[in-house]
């Protein structure tokens, strides 16, 4: 080989290297800017923590205040209860005094009865005495006037005695009635008081358990506090780490730029040797290519995106470079931009259509050059009964772009078909898309059928609205994971198939 041919070959290699270096410099810039966005998120997270813990409605404060309130109420309650118990005891004492009083009353009654009996006898005898005196007065005639007076006075005495005994009887029975009524009222009151105290004692238990619960809530809140603080500290560490990474990427970029300069010098030297003039502007072509493609992708301009790809291929860029450095990178950047907002399906659909159209150009070339990444086979389809194609088609496109060999079974795929195709294609992952809850629930039968047919190792990745609404549905239908969008589907598929190296953080 002549030295000129050698130099020309070296120059081509160096030019290629320069393109790659530029592309790497650009990637570093991407990482630097996304690191900055990441730092912003972390700062926001820290602010959320600070704002929350500094708030008057902060859960631990609220829990503590509630606990103290319950505590005060509990003390008041216990105080009241004690007083009621004391009252009940006093009532007991009053009751026994009244009982004694009753007994004495009965004695008095008895004595009174005897006295009355005596009085009645005295009255009767006095009456007889008055009659006798009257008879005597009548018998003696005018001489008996004294007897008449005696008779009159004795009758008066008899009447007084009789009236007195009637009065006494009335008073005694009134007294007895009143005492008995009082005893009854006292008894009833005592019973009510007893019941009230009994109920309050029951209430005391639930009051105390309420207090214990509130105390537990405070304790748990404090645990939550600690957990939040731990998360806060971790955020702080991640923040620092991101800062270091940003610095490292800055350094890598500087090194790469030095390499760029060095390569340029080498190309310059070769050019001098070959006697041609240097024109480095074309080496930044890859960057321009990416920026141009990205701009058109964002404007949803499919035709321009395709034109850029065709031009690049015509200019000698290889399909692998375009797929990874232009297409995938664009998708990554767009994905990052979409994090903070609700991306309508129409936009995702258009993105998917552009990727699909580009892949239709690139994939045959990659296959021809044997440069496709071949990450393995994935079977995809809508759940049985589900006729919503859009989400499935988008995910399918993203997976193809990432290098998976995707077998798309289309709408409403029966579980038997899924199993049959998985067997035939020797695939280890099935992606199931579902827009309605009850079609999403079909996945549980797919899992059962796979297990029954000895395909326990085959993983199921699900996606669609019901899963987005409640990620717990993934476990309910016994799927292995879910993905909300194309980028997530790529990452999760790689994870499920063991294609990602995971570092376990202790």
């Amino acid at each position: 080989m002549s030295s000129q041919t050698f130099l020309e070959k070296q120059k081509v290699k160096l030019e290629k290297q320069l393109t790659i270096l530029w592309s790497q410099v650009n990637y570093c810039e991407d990482i630097e800017s996304s690191s900055e966005a990441l730092e912003d998120y972390l700062i926001k997270m820290k602010a959320v923590y600070t704002e929350y813990t500094g708030n008057d409605h902060y859960i631990t404060l609220m829990a503590e205040k509630t606990k103290q309130h319950i505590d005060e109420q509990l003390n008041l309650f216990l105080d009241g209860l004690n007083k009621m118990i004391q009252l009940r005891e006093k009532y007991g004492e009053i009751n026994s005094t009244v009982l004694e009083l009753n007994k004495e009353n009965e004695e008095v009654d008895k004595n009174m009865e005897q006295t009355l009996k005596l009085l009645r006898e005295v009255s009767a005898q006095t009456n007889i005495l008055a009659i006798n005196a009257n008879i005597e007065a009548y018998r003696l005639g005018p001489k008996g006037d004294v007897f008449k007076i005696i008779a009159t006075e004795v009758r008066k005495l008899s009447d007084i005695t009789s009236n007195a005994s009637v009065n006494m009887t009335n008073t005694t029975s009134k007294l007895t009635k009143q005492t008995s009524e009082m005893t009854q009222i006292l008894n009833e009151n005592n019973q009510t008081l007893f019941q009230v105290v009994q109920e309050l004692e029951k209430g005391k238990e639930s009051f105390i358990s309420m207090y214990t619960d509130s105390e537990n809530i405070v304790t748990e809140s404090m645990v939550l506090d600690d957990t939040l603080k731990t998360i806060y500290d971790l955020i702080q560490k991640v923040y620092t780490m991101v800062e270091y990474n940003k610095m490292s990427y800055g350094n890598v970029k500087r090194i790469l730029l030095q390499q760029v300069e060095l390569t340029k010098e080498m190309i310059d030297d070769i050019n001098q040797e070959l006697g041609v003039s240097a024109n480095f502007t074309s080496y930044k072509g890859a960057i321009d290519l990416y920026q141009e493609f990205y701009k058109n992708f964002k404007n949803e301009n499919l035709e321009h995106c395709l034109t850029i790809i065709h031009h690049a291929l015509d200019n000698g860029e290889d399909a692998e470079f375009i797929t990874t450095q232009i297409l995938e990178r664009t998708v990554e950047s767009i994905g990052r931009e979409q994090i903070d907002r609700l991306v309508p399906l129409s936009e995702i659909y258009v993105n998917g259509r552009i990727i699909e159209a580009c892949l239709d150009v690139l994939l045959p070339l990659l296959e021809k050059d044997q440069k496709g990444k071949k990450l393995g086979k994935i079977i995809i389809g809508n759940a049985f009964g589900d006729y919503h194609a859009l989400g499935r088609q988008i995910i399918s496109t993203f997976l193809r772009m990432a290098g998976f060999d995707v077998v798309d079974l289309g709408l409403s795929v029966s579980n038997e078909t899924f199993v049959e195709v998985v067997r035939k294609e020797k695939a280890n992952l099935i992606c199931v898309s579902a827009l309605i809850l009850h079609t999403a629930e079909e996945v549980i039968h797919l899992r059962e059928l796979l297990d029954k047919k000895g395909l326990r190792h085959v993983k199921i990745l699900v996606g669609g609205a019901p899963f987005n609404f409640d990620p717990r549905l993934v476990q309910r239908v016994k799927a292995d994971a879910m993905a909300q969008n194309g980028i997530e589907a790529i990452k999760t598929a790689k994870e499920l198939l063991g294609l990602l190296h995971k570092r376990v953080v202790k």
Binding site: E300, L342, P344, L345, S346, E347, Y349, V350, G385, D386, Y387, H388, A389, L390, Q393, S412, I436, L437, H438, T439, E441, P466, F469, D470, R472, L473
Partner: protein, 342 residues
């Protein structure tokens, strides 16, 4: 105040005794009547009886006179596949090529067994409870109907293509769908519906951008609502937060929100312009119990009830068949207990 007065006054921002509650429980009647779901969904009398049973047990503020909205496809000749645990699904697309749109005939909405049974259900409900409880009819909005006649992917292609390169078939298709929706809504109103819910799944922000809504949905919905002689509830079946201001000028009196929409923020935007309804996460409701439901009701009331114009409900399209009855019961009872205005 009866529930019809309460609902109408609340959604027009007038003083009411409490926040109204409308659980969109379209399938639960089947359980209450011990019927399998497809049998229930295909019979207007069962649908009405199921709703009457719900009314007797829970006393919500409205009843629904339809089994689901997918039935709107049947007059177009689209067969439905029925399921034991949810709404039917569509098994065939009748527009296979965009050219089919030219020959597409707008059908008589009452020419299918399903729609006839729905009218029967509405009529029974209107006669039996219509004097005190609002009877709601529901249908698919004209912008969303095409995706079920031709597939969402194909409709999206048509929409985006003609949005970029000028109209060719889109307007004609939407016009035909609008004609159908208007005549179907009128039939429901004739049968006794007091309110029409218009489900527009493809128009939500989850599916299309605000710009596309402004360009292709807004006037379509306005024109449709103008022709419907009763109040219309607009249900985006997806996020509506970013387009509430636009929905408020369509003529709809209420809009149903998605679980992802911020109830408090939405109330701020909608206050005095359009009432809001929602927005429990209906899939999460499968895992709720009485306490969780009570908390969610309180949370929603705290965020949105102030100043009236709010109805407690879940996000669209409906409460799933397997959500525990206790959850729906608590949703209604807790609203009655905590939905009082201070």
């Amino acid at each position: 105040m009866n529930s019809k007065e309460r609902l109408v006054k609340a959604v027009t921002f007038q003083a009411v005794d409490r926040v109204p509650v409308v659980p969109v429980a379209l399938t639960q009647g089947a359980k209450l009547l011990n019927l399998d779901l497809p049998t229930y969904q295909k019979n207007g009398e069962y649908i009405a009886n199921g709703q009457l049973k719900l009314l007797e047990l829970l006393e919500p503020d409205a009843v629904f006179g339809m089994p689901h909205v997918v039935e709107d496809l049947t007059p177009w000749g689209v067969p439905l596949t029925y399921h034991q645990n949810g709404s039917p699904t569509v098994g065939k697309m009748i527009i296979r090529n965009v050219e089919d749109i030219l020959d597409l005939k707008v059908p008589d909405p009452t020419n299918s067994m399903e729609t006839k049974e729905t009218l029967k259900a509405i009529s029974i409900l209107a006669k039996k409870v219509g004097q005190h409880t609002a009877v709601i009819g529901g249908l698919i909005a004209p912008f969303s109907l095409p995706s079920m006649l031709m597939g969402t992917g194909a409709f999206m292609r048509l929409l985006l293509e003609e949005d970029r390169n000028g109209d060719q078939y889109l307007k004609l298709l939407l016009h035909k769908c609008k004609q159908f929706v208007i005549s179907w809504a009128k039939k429901m109103v004739e049968a006794g519906a007091d309110i029409i819910v218009m489900a527009d799944g493809i128009a939500s922000q989850t599916v299309i951008s605000r710009r596309l809504f402004e360009n292709h949905v807004l006037s379509l919905v306005k024109e449709t609502i103008k022709e419907i002689p009763v109040p219309v509830v607009y249900e985006a079946v997806g996020s509506a937060q970013g387009i509430i201001d636009l929905i408020a000028i369509t003529g709809a009196v209420v809009t149903i929100l998605d679980y992802n929409d911020d109830l408090k923020e939405c109330k701020k935007i909608a206050n005095g312009k359009i009432a809001i309804m929602g927005n429990f996460n209906n899939i999460e409701m499968l895992n709720w119990n009485a306490i969780k439901t009570q908390l969610e009701v309180k949370k929603a009331i705290n965020k949105a009830a102030n100043g009236y114009g709010y109805v407690v409900s879940s996000q669209g399209p409906e409460i799933p068949y397997n959500v525990p009855f206790e959850v729906i019961e608590t949703m209604v009872n807790a609203t009655k207990e905590f939905g009082k205005y201070k």
